[in-house]
Every structure is written in structure tokens, then in C-alpha cells.
């Protein structure tokens, strides 16, 4: 009887996911449906294989465990091998995640690193954890949406403080040279991670290796279908802008949202926005995995009231800083580096440094009142 109930609830989950894809196909066409399916894939892989970004950074610093970090480098490297030739061969149809390195961008990436350790989730991790029912992440996600929109209102000013022109490794070294330098850089980072990691914590387990492979495939599909790499933050800022507009704010007259590209996104449905579609897919995919394997589980941690407020504020900071830094762990770190943007490297160094501060800060400002289920405390970060 229990097996029948499990089979039945899993069938409902599968049907739900398939129905959403079909509905999007009917409403917005094949490209939108494909992108939602890719997002669903991201959610299934991230939650199903417990692949994260913030968590591996944390355990690398606190436990000298380099396995998750190495899996990230592998996923990026696999993407590089396909993305660089594609971008070089089809420059009129595909573009990379290129943004300028700037003073505000670097500081914002550092602040993002701090905040992501406070809420134990980065851009994708917040989406995944909210979809899989983590209340901390749901609250952080609401803050992320608000902060990302808020940041979009000030991004011109922040960028005017001082920015270099937008450079890509392809511009500087050519497509082949840029690819080898990127792979070499990831190799050097991997060697550093392996040398710092404890013995026995240097080789990613098969679960993470498979996840890295699947993430690389999905990110290439994202590039091929959308014409641009995987991103998260733009969609969240757009949701904030849409909600502000629904609340009566004239968003279209603000500097950022009045430019042609953003004004069009503001006017058109979310179901035609690339990043919104993959974000919704990620949340749905994580929900499917949670329902598939967990059933009714309690929250991993309970916090005191002050800590819940800190989580919401940290979520706002997460969104604001991600907007000013031209992306989060996905748009800047994963997609920036894997498509040759110099700002991706600068983002990684700054955010990792901020992460070290965030790890130290977290126990001072986030205080669990009771550990409800210690087994579940390792969410997808």
C-alpha cells in the first residue's frame, strides 16, 4: 500500500512537471518550453545530486574538503570546451556572459560572498532550496527579488564609480588561446584546491562528477537554445520590477528599465524571458526531487526571531550585490568564466574572499534556536 502511494505521488510529480512544460509550449512556443525543461533539468541535477556552490566553498574553508569545489571547476571546464568553439563559430547567434570589471563590481561580489554564507545559499542555491521547501531560503529568495530590483535602480551610479571596458579572453587571446588559458586557470585553481584539501577529500565522488557533467550539458543547451549562457539574477530583478509595477510604481521611467532591452522585458510576459523560465524550472525541479524522495519532512533548522530578520536582510543584500556585481555564482562565476569573461574571474576571487568573512560572521548573527532535524541540515547551498 505504501509503495502504491509512493508510486502514485511520484507519478503526480512527473505529470505536474510535464504539464507545466506543455502549458508553456502552448502559451509561449517551443523555445520557452525548451528553456523551462532545461531549468527543470538544472533543478533536478542540483537538488538530486546535491551539487551546490556556497556549501563547497564553506567546507573547503572550514573542513579542508575540496571535493565540491573541484566538481565546480570540472563543470566549468567541461562547459568551456564546448562553449568557446560555439561562441567563436556562431558570433551572430550566441553570446557569452561578458561584463566589465569595476570597483563596485568587485566590492559587490565580495559582499555577495558574505551574504551567501549567511543564508547558506547562492543564486541557484536559494532557488533550489526554496523549491525543496527550505523556509530560510524562501525568505531569502523574497529578499533576493527585492534586492535585485533595488540594485537595478542604482546600478548606473555604481558602475560610474570606475569600470574597465568589457574584456573577454577571446578578445585578448583569440578563441583558441582564450580557451586554453581558461582551462589552464581552472587547472591551477584545481591544483591549489587539491594542495589545500585534506587527504581523502580531494577526489569528487561519482555523484558530483555526474552532476558536473549534467550541469555542463545543460548549460550548453541553455546557450544553444537561449543564445546566451545560464543566468539567474536578471530574472529575479525582473520579477521585482514586475511586482513593483503591479503595485503602482512607474518602473519604466527609471534609468535601467527605460533602456530598450530592459523596457521590452518589462513589457513582455515573464514566459518569454529566458532567465525567468530557467529560474521557474529550477524551482519546479527542486520541488519534484523533494517530493520524490522526502515526503513530509520538517525544516532542517529553526531560528530565533532576530535571525529570521537577518535572513531577510541578507537576502536583500544578496540580490542587491548580485545585481551590482553583474551576476551571482551562476551568471558571473559559472557562465562568466566558462564563456571567457574576465569579470567572472574577478568575481570568483572577490566572492570567495567575502565567503570567508561570511563563514566567520554567520554564527554571530544567525542563531538556530532548535535543531529539528540535524540529518537535513546540509541543504543545497
Amino acid at each position: 500500500m505504501k509503495n502504491l502511494r509512493t508510486w502514485s505521488s511520484r507519478s503526480v510529480l512527473g505529470l505536474m512537471a510535464a504539464s507545466i512544460i506543455v502549458l508553456i509550449f502552448l502559451a509561449a512556443g517551443p523555445r520557452a518550453a525548451f528553456l523551462l525543461a532545461v531549468g527543470l533539468g538544472f533543478g533536478l541535477v542540483l537538488e538530486g545530486f546535491r551539487f551546490g556552490f556556497a556549501g563547497p566553498w564553506r567546507v573547503f574553508v572550514t573542513e579542508r574538503d575540496g571535493r565540491g569545489l573541484l566538481a565546480q571547476f570540472l563543470a566549468i571546464a567541461l562547459t568551456v570546451i564546448v562553449a568557446f568553439p560555439l561562441l567563436s563559430r556562431f558570433p551572430g547567434e550566441l553570446t557569452g556572459a561578458y561584463a566589465p570589471v569595476g570597483l563596485a563590481m568587485i566590492v559587490a561580489a565580495f559582499v555577495f560572498g558574505v551574504a551567501m554564507q549567511l543564508v547558506m545559499g547562492c543564486g541557484s542555491g536559494t532557488l533550489v532550496n526554496a523549491g525543496s521547501g527550505n523556509l530560510v531560503s524562501f525568505l531569502a529568495l523574497l529578499g533576493f527579488i527585492a534586492g535585485s530590483f533595488w540594485g537595478s535602480l542604482h546600478i548606473s551610479w555604481w558602475t560610474s564609480i570606475g569600470s574597465l571596458p568589457t574584456y573577454s579572453l577571446q578578445d585578448l587571446l583569440g578563441a583558441t588561446g582564450g580557451m586554453w588559458v581558461t582551462l589552464g586557470g581552472l587547472g591551477v585553481l584545481s591544483l591549489i584546491a587539491m594542495s589545500k584539501a585534506e587527504y581523502g577529500k580531494r577526489k569528487p565522488p561519482p555523484r558530483l562528477l555526474w552532476a558536473a557533467l549534467f550541469l555542463a550539458v545543460l548549460s550548453i543547451l541553455n546557450l544553444v537554445i537561449a543564445g546566451q549562457p545560464w543566468g539567474v539574477v536578471y530574472g529575479l530583478g525582473l520579477w521585482g520590477a514586475k511586482l513593483a509595477q503591479a503595485g503602482g510604481m512607474d518602473v519604466a521611467v527609471t534609468g535601467f528599465w527605460s533602456s530598450a532591452a530592459h523596457a521590452e522585458r518589462l513589457q513582455q510576459s515573464l514566459l518569454t524571458d529566458v532567465t525567468s523560465l530557467t529560474n521557474i524550472g529550477i524551482i519546479t525541479g527542486a520541488f519534484v526531487v523533494m517530493g520524490w524522495r522526502r515526503g513530509h519532512q520538517p525544516q532542517a533548522v529553526n531560528l530565533n526571531l532576530a535571525s529570521w530578520v537577518v535572513v531577510l536582510l541578507a537576502g536583500i543584500v544578496l540580490g542587491y550585490s548580485a545585481r551590482v556585481a553583474f551576476g551571482c555564482n551562476v551568471g558571473a562565476y559559472f557562465s562568466g568564466i566558462s564563456t571567457g569573461s574576465l569579470h567572472g574571474w574577478a568575481w570568483f576571487v572577490a566572492a570567495f574572499s567575502g565567503s570567508i568573512v561570511g563563514i566567520k560572521l554567520r554564527p554571530l548573527v544567525i542563531r538556530p534556536s532548535v535543531s529539528v532535524n540535524p540529518v537535513l541540515q546540509t541543504g543545497i547551498p
Binding site: E93, T284, R294
Partner: protein
């Protein structure tokens, strides 16, 4: 002060409902989608410059 928390399933449902509400509000306020004007299924092979916005997009910055 300790709060009694909803289960993960409940929060997962709330998250999905939040986005269902967001999309519904958006559909009511945005320009209607014309599926017959939908873009080519993939950007690769479409012959068109990618037009979707990304977090690294610097258009609109002074």
C-alpha cells in the same frame, strides 16, 4: 522566541504558489503572448542576434 515552522512540503507548495501568482499577475498586466510570433526553437540556427537579457547585460547603463 521560537516559531513553529511549516514542513518542507508546505513551504515547497507555497513557493510554487507564489510563482503561479506572479505569473498570473504578469499575464494580466503584460502584453499578450502571440504564439505565432514565437521565436525559432533555438537561438543557434535562428540567424538572429540573441535578444534575451542577462545579468551581465550592460545596456541601459550610462
Amino acid at each position: 522566541m521560537q516559531l513553529k515552522l511549516p514542513s518542507r512540503t508546505v513551504v515547497g507548495f507555497i513557493t510554487l504558489l507564489f510563482f503561479a501568482a506572479l505569473v498570473t499577475i504578469d499575464l494580466a498586466l503584460s502584453s499578450p503572448i502571440d504564439p505565432y510570433l514565437a521565436p525559432y526553437p533555438t537561438a543557434l540556427g535562428s540567424g538572429q542576434i540573441p535578444s534575451g537579457a542577462h545579468c551581465t547585460d550592460i545596456s541601459g547603463l550610462d
